[in-house]
């Protein structure tokens, strides 16, 4: 249903969006490695990673979110022939809270990670709009991480998880799930320079 080059394209689009939107400071390192299915821990896979951000293996070290504890932020991008769900599982330890909350006393940790996730998914949506003119994006919602294994019940055409490391101590697990109702085939060119960054998307 989804061609291999379309899967690679979705992954590239996710990498670009995550590296552009998840770090709180422009200079922060953002390492992303794919988590192979049925593996106990994250295993590095360097292909597709941006230069200077891969190969450190940091995301596979201890400290990544426990797979089925805590909460995940869920967002959906809907098209005519498919829906893409992005689930971001943020660790709720002190270093992660400090990294995202910083001095923001007006917002809760959940609100901030929901906003960050919304920005990341919004960047994916913008990129996908170049290939699928009719798309819409949902607002973020928090779910228990124990819901994540049930993604298989949605009979996805594409399901993949990624371990993301921001800076030295912040670990996020992202899961991409695409359910397609028809053949999906496209090649994404993510080399274009982003025109703007940092603006907030209202939801």
């Amino acid at each position: 249903m989804i061609s291999s080059q379309a899967k690679d394209s979705i992954e590239r689009i996710f990498y670009k969006a995550a590296q552009a939107r998840l770090p709180m400071a422009p200079g922060d390192v953002c390492g992303i490695v794919a988590i192979k299915p049925n593996s106990a821990g994250a295993k590095d896979r360097t292909e597709g990673l941006t230069e200077g951000r891969a190969g450190d293996g940091g995301a596979s070290r201890a400290g990544k979110p426990q797979t089925h504890t805590g909460q995940v932020v869920v967002l959906t991008i809907s098209g005519i022939l498919f829906r893409l769900m992005l689930l971001l599982h943020f660790n709720e330890d002190d270093s992660t809270r400090d990294y995202f909350v910083k001095d923001d006393a007006q917002s809760t940790f959940e609100e901030i990670v929901a906003e960050i996730s919304n920005l990341c998914c919004g960047a994916m949506n913008q990129e996908l709009l170049r290939y699928f003119p009719d798309l819409g994006m949902s607002t973020p919602y928090m779910l228990s991480a124990q819901c994540v294994p049930h993604l298989e019940d949605l009979k996805p055409s594409y399901l993949s998880s990624y371990a993301i490391q921001l800076g030295d101590s912040v670990h996020i697990v992202a899961t991409l799930c695409v359910c397609a109702d028809g053949p999906i085939d496209f090649v994404a060119d993510v080399t274009a320079v982003e025109e703007s960054s940092g603006e907030l998307e209202l939801f």
């Binding site: 809907s78 098209g79 769900m85 949902s138 779910l143 124990q146």
Partner: protein, 240 residues
């Protein structure tokens, strides 16, 4: 003598008269001949002129006929062009009427697309139902959690009962069977509670992703209607 003179004079007069007459006739004949020659020359000239005029008249007649034919052709052309002009005028009038209709239809499409964009509120209303469903799910999660706690307590109680039954010896044998049954029921309840918890999590995920799909689909439709509205406005402004 006188008579002879008279006769002679008469005779000379007659001769003179005859001679004068003859001279007169001679000169008259010469004048007549000269006049005849001049007349012939004039007649020839007039004949030539006449012939030329006749030829010119013929040519003019041909030219006149050609002109009349050309005028007739021009008249036919004019009639055809008038007919064509009438047809073009009718076609133009029809085109103007059709253009007005298209402008009206483009406006209707723009208005309809604008009106249908309010569907976004409907999709949002559906999405809001998700919060209600999820609240109910959370309530069921809490109840299941409480049930799980009770079952764990029952397991502990049944274990204690088994221990007490063992202490009682043969007298407690029947009680041990009951405690074992209770423990088995508690274990089954625990399994059921775990299964129910999994079902609730699956339900959470299905509910959330379905309603998010509805919400995102609504935004997709709203955006598409916005594009239709913009295109209809562009068409409307081009037709004006």
């Amino acid at each position: 003598m006188t008579q002879s003179y008279f006769v002679a004079a008469l005779m000379s007069s007659v001769v003179t008269a005859i001679l004068a007459y003859l001279i007169h006739r001679f000169y008259a004949a010469r004048a007549a001949a000269r006049l005849r020659e001049e007349s012939d020359v004039r007649i020839d000239a007039l004949a030539q002129t006449h012939a030329r005029r006749t030829e010119e008249t013929g040519q003019e007649e041909q030219a006149r006929q050609a002109l009349e034919a050309a005028i007739a052709d021009l008249r036919d052309d004019l009639a055809r062009q008038i007919a064509t002009t009438d047809e073009v005028r009718v076609a133009l009038k029809t085109a103007v009427e059709e253009k007005d209709q298209w402008t009206q239809q483009a406006k209707q499409i723009a208005d309809e697309a604008s009106r249908l964009k309010s569907l976004a509120a409907t999709f949002e209303r559906w999405h809001e139902q998700m919060i209600s469903l999820m609240t109910q799910n959370q309530d069921m999660h809490a109840k299941n959690h409480e049930l799980s706690a009770i079952v764990r307590h029952v397991v502990i109680v049944s274990l204690n009962a088994s221990i007490e039954a063992a202490r009682a010896g043969p007298a407690g044998r029947g009680f041990a069977v009951v405690a074992s049954e209770v423990r088995e029921l508690a274990a089954r309840s625990e399994e059921l509670s775990k299964s129910y918890r999994n079902s609730l999590h699956r339900n959470d995920l299905t509910t959330t992703t379905t309603f998010q799909d509805i919400q995102a689909g609504g935004k997709m439709i709203t955006a598409s209607l916005g594009s239709v509205e913009a295109l209809a406005h562009q068409l409307q402004s081009k037709l004006h």
